[in-house]
């Protein structure tokens, strides 16, 4: 089929634009939407794209690189260090055990040991793209399951490197030219020790550049005031790392991750993230579409039992291994289900390893084709499996493990007539809930951290597991009869989503909303919220009062100052939120500085004068 670039772009974009919202609407998540879009436009469907889907997939894998960069940005080095046990232990065991078990089974089925070992390694991989995207969408990244999944995925990324080095050794014949896959590189001609030195040098180059060179560069770019220059710099950074890493034979994703971690403490972190994010999202989408389109349905229809059997068998095997490891590493109950089901697919690295192993002559063409179909289908099954898990296993699990076998209905409509619904019961929501409870006000609590729900249920609180942004859950929780909803979720986007849901379906509810900071408060104001509570504002002021007291100020006067400051700041916030709308084009970093300056100037003018006026200012008459 002769197609121009624009025609192709149109097909891909149209497929995504049509399918993703439908999938979201049906509660299936965006990943499945992209995959289905791929199937529809692919050779098995409307035939808009043929086998070039494979090439596009290689291009789109760059989305995974960007994703790891963004993940790195959100992960400070200290947190990474704290996760070391999980990464090495959980991740190492998952890769090791899965590889060996799969290889063992393959050998029992009369596959040569070299081939079996290669298959084992390929199958041990999970899909960073699908898992992270899904966890993120559900707001689970910070749960134990999310953290454990991430640890395993990170180890797998690391494991790619030795695997690529190992594959040529597994080949039956020697003298094959380097492949052009992720393994082919400028340095592969060098002896091993020199390769090692080059690799170490490149990683330290990334770390040093990130630490010392990038900050001034970004500052310069920010000063130009041209948003696109910042975006270009950010892209250049990620692409540059990918090129460097590929040329020394390392995984580009890993390099990007390291660079992200190095920049995690920098002031440009959010700016970088928001620059890369749309590219990342689109490329990942493209990647999923090409996975969908690459499923070879003719192969599936010719050997349906073999393919289905392989998909089911391998996923169950991986799941079982993960579940046992999860138990050993104390990922409890429901979290363990999220963890083991989430990682049960075979990931995108398998495609790389498969094509590489064919080049190296480790695997035959037929095996590789079958496996490609198995991998793609297993990836497509993941969102479905997670949905089934969430809808049926998790809800039941949370109730059962709380010792409520008799009350297995997820909703108890009669009882849920509480006037208050609290969405999110972390450290913020839990204080609100305790306070209300102490005053005899019962609240229905929704939380999407199943571990937390499990614990709260065990201590006798009526807590519902689930994503509060979903209409059905709100309905079950009695939103139709409640008076107010307290939105105490920590995730900013989830909060906005929930607000939209409430506005649409339960307009009678008062919404009291937690906000992270000023910027977030602006967004909430623009969403029409009246009751906004900045989570650190009151506490910071309280600390300020105590600081003044220790400096010898009078307690009552400092308290009044704080109150005045509070009122004043809330007013400034409202004022600036209006201005901000007109000036959204201003570069965010500069905007932030200008704003801070404005705030501080307003503080100087207003606060001090107001706080103590009145008391004994108008002397004679008032105080007689």
């Amino acid at each position: 089929m002769q197609q121009s670039f624009f025609f192709q772009a149109m097909i891909y974009l149209a497929a995504a634009v049509v399918m993703v919202p439908i999938a979201k609407r049906l509660g299936l998540g965006s990943v499945l939407g992209y995959l289905v879009a791929g199937v529809i436009i692919g050779p098995a469907g409307l035939k808009f794209i043929g086998m070039e889907g494979q090439d596009i997939m290689h291009f789109a894998e760059f989305g995974v690189v960007m994703m790891l960069f963004v993940i790195g940005l959100e992960l400070e080095p200290s947190r990474l260090w704290r996760m070391r046990k999980n990464i090495a232990g959980l991740g190492g065991l998952q890769v090791g055990v899965t590889t060996l078990l799969v290889a063992g089974i393959a050998m029992l089925l009369d596959v040569g040991w070299k081939e079996a070992l290669a298959l084992g390694m390929i199958i041990a991989m999970s899909s960073t793209a699908i898992v992270m995207q899904t966890l993120n969408e559900k707001g689970w990244l910070k749960t134990i399951a999310g953290q454990s999944s991430f640890a395993v995925l990170l180890f797998q990324d690391l494991a790619i490197i030795p695997m690529l080095a190992l594959f040529p050794l597994l080949a039956d014949h020697t003298g094959v030219a380097d492949g052009h896959g992720a393994g082919g590189s400028l340095v592969s001609a060098l002896p091993a020790w020199q390769q090692t030195i080059v690799v170490l040098l490149s990683v330290s180059a990334i770390v040093l550049t990130g630490k010392y060179l990038l900050r001034p560069v970004f500052r310069m770019m920010a000063r130009t005031g041209l948003r696109e220059m910042f975006t270009a710099t950010a892209l250049l950074l990620v692409v540059g790392i990918a090129v460097l890493m590929t040329s020394v034979g390392l995984s580009p994703a890993l390099g990007a991750f390291v660079a992200g971690v190095v920049l995690a403490n920098s002031e440009y972190r959010h700016e970088l993230e928001s620059s890369i994010d749309p590219f990342k999202g689109l490329l990942l989408g493209l990647f999923f579409i090409s996975v969908g389109s690459s499923i070879d349905f003719s192969l599936v229809t010719s050997k349906p039992l073999l393919i289905i059997g392989l998909v089911a068998g391998l996923m169950l095997l991986k799941m079982a291994i993960l579940f046992v490891l999860g138990k050993i590493f104390q990922v409890r109950n429901a979290q363990n289900f999220i963890f083991s089901i989430g990682l049960s697919q075979i990931g995108e690295f398998a495609f790389v390893l498969l094509s590489f192993s064919v080049q190296q002559g480790v695997l035959g063409k037929e095996v590789s084709d079958t496996m490609t179909a198995v991998v793609a289908i297993s990836m497509a099954m993941t969102p479905l499996a997670m949905m089934v898990n969430e809808k049926f296993i998790l809800t039941r699990f949370c109730l059962v493990s709380a010792g409520l076998q008799t009350a297995q209905r997820p909703s108890d409509v009669e009882e849920e007539d509480n006037p208050v619904i609290i969405a999110g019961y972390g450290h913020f929501g839990n204080i609100v809930g305790r306070f209300l409870r102490a005053n005899g006000v019962e609240a229905t609590v929704l939380d999407n951290d199943s571990d937390n729900v499990d614990f709260l249920r065990r201590i006798g609180l009526k807590v519902y597991y689930g994503d509060a942004t979903r209409y059905e859950l709100l309905d079950i929780a009695g939103a139709g009869r409640a008076q107010m909803i307290i939105i105490a979720i920590s995730d900013e986007e989830k909060r906005l989503e929930l607000i939209e849901t409430v506005k649409k379906h339960f307009p009678h509810l008062h919404m009291l909303v937690r906000s992270t900071n000023r910027n977030d408060a602006y967004d909430l104001m623009n969403a029409g919220m009246m009751h906004i509570y900045r989570e650190t504002f009151d506490t910071s002021l309280r600390l300020g009062v105590d600081a003044l007291k220790l400096l010898g100020h009078r307690a009552h006067e400092a308290t009044r100052m704080a109150k005045t400051f509070f009122v004043h700041d809330e007013r400034t916030l409202k004022h600036l939120s209006r201005i901000r709308n007109d000036e959204e084009y201003i570069h965010a970093a500069r905007e932030h500085m200008e704003e801070l300056e404005m705030i501080m100037q307003a503080d100087r003018e207003a606060v001090h004068l107001n706080a103590l006026a009145g008391w004994d200012r108008k002397a004679e008459t008032e105080t007689a």
Binding site: H553, R554, H556, T559, W615, D616, E620, T623
Partner: protein, 196 residues
């Protein structure tokens, strides 16, 4: 020996002149407990139990405060409303304060002349303090005449110093039971017992 408790109320202490001086002298007198209400309860959330225990331990209570709008700053009203509980301070079983002495030590912007039938404040200070007087009466306490510093906005340093010394003398006499009840009958201000 009597124990004296000063219940001090000043919301803008840092801007005060007269009250700060009185405080300075009062804090030096042995046997006097100085309870700074706004400092203890900056948001007017009063610890009732602590306050009642303080009252129980002392024999003489002084409300020391600037004379805001012919009365005390708001925390003293809050204090009375919360601390003087039924059947503790008053009522059939309320004998906790019985026989204790109490009076106000105030600073007024206006001069003594202003607080007279012909002055712009029309009534004497004592009349404005009637609610305190009656509260004390209901709590079975002895209400004494007030200690007053006038013209706080124009007061000269040496006059203020004299007032401080006078206040200290009064407190010392109260602690050591040197006040003759008979002498209280004819006076308007306690200041008159210690002429300078």
């Amino acid at each position: 020996m009597s124990k004296v408790l000063i219940q001090f109320a000043h919301p803008t202490h840092s801007k005060s002149n007269v009250q700060k001086t009185l405080e300075k002298y009062a804090r030096k007198v042995k046997g006097v407990t100085f309870n700074d209400l706004y400092e203890h309860y900056p948001d007017l959330f009063i610890d009732v139990k602590r306050e009642q225990e303080l009252l129980a331990k002392h024999d003489i209570v002084i409300f020391q405060h600037p004379f805001y709008w012919y009365s005390s700053p708001p925390i003293l009203k809050q204090w009375q409303d919360l601390v003087l509980e039924y059947n503790w301070a008053y009522g059939p079983k309320g004998h906790a304060l019985k026989g204790k002495k109490i009076f106000n030590a105030v600073s007024c912007g206006g001069g003594r002349d202003a607080y007279s039938a012909s002055g712009y404040n029309r009534f004497p200070v004592g009349q404005y303090l009637l609610p305190f007087d009656q509260t004390a009466h209901l709590c079975r306490m002895d209400y004494l005449p007030p200690f007053v510093v006038h013209e706080t906005y124009t007061i000269e340093d040496y006059t203020l110093k004299a007032c401080g010394e006078q206040y200290a003398e009064l407190l010392d006499a109260l602690v050591n039971d040197r006040i003759d009840p008979a002498k209280l009958a004819g006076i308007e201000y306690l200041n008159e017992l210690f002429p300078h």
